[in-house]
């Protein structure tokens, strides 16, 4: 079983957002593997441990993203690819076109990724890549079993579970609950240092940048209005409770 894992390095979810010159500042920010992609890495490694095979992780991003690849290698992935080239850092349309070219250089039975990234939250790259590769995808999976050229997954559909089967090759996106990602072990970290990371530029992929250019554009980024603290109710508890109910009914008018 050859597996490709799509990975994005994102801000840790405990980070607050600071804008500098209209852009999200990366100063002093702790970066992690996008939590949903981390489930994908764990699942790929667990499948390899059970059924054998090879796990490749790929990211499109700046040099700092190599740290996320190293973590994935330390978790048990075998090799990594980074497409580090500003000319192709575009929208989901562009990124999925680039990933498709990378994926086509080899043949994978399984492509795994998070169902979305916690920064952009677009949830597009997985389905788009599957379409570019002409393979089927199943998104937001919470369980995966692999057997002879076939997968059986549990897919979360807004709280309900569908049990779905498909033949490989298939692209699957991970939902929370799929597994508990492992922490890299010390030997894992040591081994990861010797595992290969391939660094690719657009030129290496013989891309026609004009053909795959982004179809969307961000014109502005801004922070929401800071929420001001409201009132802490005072008095005896029963009084507080009835004051709250009154306020919600007649002041805020959010309850009938």
């Amino acid at each position: 079983m050859k597996t490709l894992v799509l990975l994005k390095q994102t801000f840790d979810t405990e980070e607050k957002i600071v804008l500098k010159n209209g852009k999200v500042s990366e100063e002093g920010v702790k970066f992690v593997i996008n939590p949903y992609d981390e489930y994908a890495v764990e699942e790929a490694v667990a499948i390899k441990e059970k059924h054998g095979g090879e796990v490749t992780v790929v990211t499109v991003g700046p040099p700092r993203a190599e740290a996320a690849l190293r973590t994935a290698l330390a978790m048990g992935a075998d090799k990594a690819i980074i497409v580090d080239d500003e000319t192709i850092f575009g929208d989901e349309y562009m990124i999925s076109k680039v990933l498709a070219i990378v994926a086509k250089r080899d043949s994978y039975d399984l492509i795994l990724g998070g169902y979305m990234a916690v920064d952009d939250g677009a949830a597009q790259v997985g389905p788009r890549l599957a379409e570019e590769l002409g393979i089927v995808h199943i998104s937001t999976i919470t369980n995966l079993e692999v057997e002879d050229g076939k997968v059986r997954v549990e897919k979360d559909v807004e709280g309900d579970i569908e049990i779905i089967e498909a033949a490989t090759p298939v692209l699957l996106t991970a939902q929370q609950g799929l597994n508990e990602p492992r922490y890299p072990s010390l030997p894992g970290i040591m081994k990861a240092k010797k595992k290969p990371i391939e660094r690719i530029k657009a030129a290496d992929l013989s891309l026609n940048i004009e053909e795959i250019h982004s179809k969307t554009e961000v014109s502005e980024q801004y922070l929401p209005l800071e929420k001001t603290a409201g009132k802490i109710l005072q008095g005896e508890l029963p009084e507080q409770v009835s004051e709250l109910v009154e306020s919600l009914r007649f002041e805020a008018k959010v309850v009938q």
Binding site: T13, E14, K16, I17, V24, Y36, D91, E92, Y93, V118, G121, A122, A123, Q124, R128, E131, E132, V136, H137, I138, S139, T140, R152, V157, E158, G159, D160, I161, I163, I164, E165, A166, A167, V170, Q176, G177, K215, T216, E217, S219, L223, P224, K227, A229, G230, K231, I232, L233, L237, P238, Q240, V241, S242, L244, V245, L248, R249, A252, V254, V255
Partner: protein, 323 residues
């Protein structure tokens, strides 16, 4: 310039979803006098078409094929592409639901289009349509537009006013049989865990529990309050990680981002990643023992106290008929 807009409507548990009406409201704005067409795949009927008409569709395609009775990405992408090629819209809108999240990017890729997903606001400036969407789960926002080709977007539930239905309006209804081949996924079974519950992302009121709930049983008073309010039940990551509840209930930057009219946080301290998922709610109530808990910084109303004492009292109070 007027635009023809195609809206993919959807049903859940037999009813049209609110987000479909919200998408129609957005479509009317984008259309600027152009034609708004709604399409319903699978088990749509004339009652649905009538309702979609009331909310602004001039034309409704009821697309059938037995492969469309349940969602599969292959069947829906084929049926969508077929209708898209008949209607030839200038813009396409879907709800950012399980279906929309799956279908929109796949269809956009098939048609070679850009897509702006999970929009919370739409601004029409002359000929230009600018979408507002949250990034970092609402810690920041961005304005985004399609620069090349057909406008394509998914919209988040509960953010765009669906407006009042106009029962005098009727839509032209077209029944269409789609041609569908080669479905590569098979649904073996469906486990309905949500029967009778309210979907978090569409709920007007949410009652959530955190670490302070202390156990799975500790969620009982939360459920009671939710029942009294007709609310959905959510949870913080701490509560999910501790095994008190299912991950499908998690609200936060991982988990669901929600924007209800009322969010009641019980025993939730307010970690940054939780606040990102709920702080754009209209009214926030916090109940927590710790007066220093960060959740109080975003709350409109706070009660410092033990949730096991406060929540049952609230339930009782809400169950009283207002005077």
């Amino acid at each position: 310039m007027s635009k023809d807009v195609l809206v993919v409507a959807e049903k859940r548990n037999g009813n049209l979803r609110n987000v479909s009406f919200e998408a129609l409201a957005a479509a009317k704005k984008i259309a600027d006098g152009g034609k708004v067409t709604a399409v319903l795949f699978g088990q749509g009927d004339h009652g649905d078409a009538e309702q979609l008409g009331h909310y602004g569709a001039a034309q409704v395609y009821l697309v059938t094929n037995e492969e469309l009775n349940d969602f599969s990405i292959d069947a829906y992408t084929q049926a969508f592409t077929e209708v898209f090629n008949i209607v030839k819209p200038d813009a396409v809108l879907l709800g950012h639901t399980a279906m929309g999240r799956d279908l929109a990017p796949r269809a956009a890729a098939r048609l070679g289009l850009g897509l702006v997903s999970d929009c919370t606001e739409i601004n029409v400036q002359g000929d230009e349509v600018v979408f507002v969407r949250p990034i970092y789960a609402g810690k920041a926002f961005q304005k985004k537009k399609i620069t090349n080709g057909i406008i394509f977007a998914t919209i988040r539930s509960n953010n765009i006013d669906k407006g009042e239905p106009d029962t005098g309006r009727t839509a032209e209804t077209i029944e269409h049989k789609a041609a569908i081949t080669d479905i590569r996924t098979v649904i073996k079974d469906v486990v309905r865990k949500t029967a009778g519950t309210i979907d978090l992302t569409e709920a007007k009121i949410i009652v959530s529990g955190g670490r302070g709930v202390k156990s799975a049983e500790g969620f009982n008073p939360i459920h009671e309050l939710a029942k009294a309010l007709g609310a959905a039940v959510g949870a913080s990551r701490a509560a999910c990680d501790a095994g008190y509840c299912d991950y499908s209930m998690q609200v936060g930057q991982t988990g669901k981002v929600v924007t209800p009219d009322l969010y009641i946080a019980c025993g939730i301290s307010g970690a940054v990643q939780h606040l990102a998922g709920m702080s754009n709610s209209k009214i926030i109530v916090a109940i927590n023992k710790d007066p220093e808990a960060p959740i109080f910084k975003v709350a409109d109303y706070g009660i410092v106290g033990d949730l096991f004492e406060v929540v049952p009292m609230l339930t009782e109070e809400f169950n009283k008929v207002p005077v």
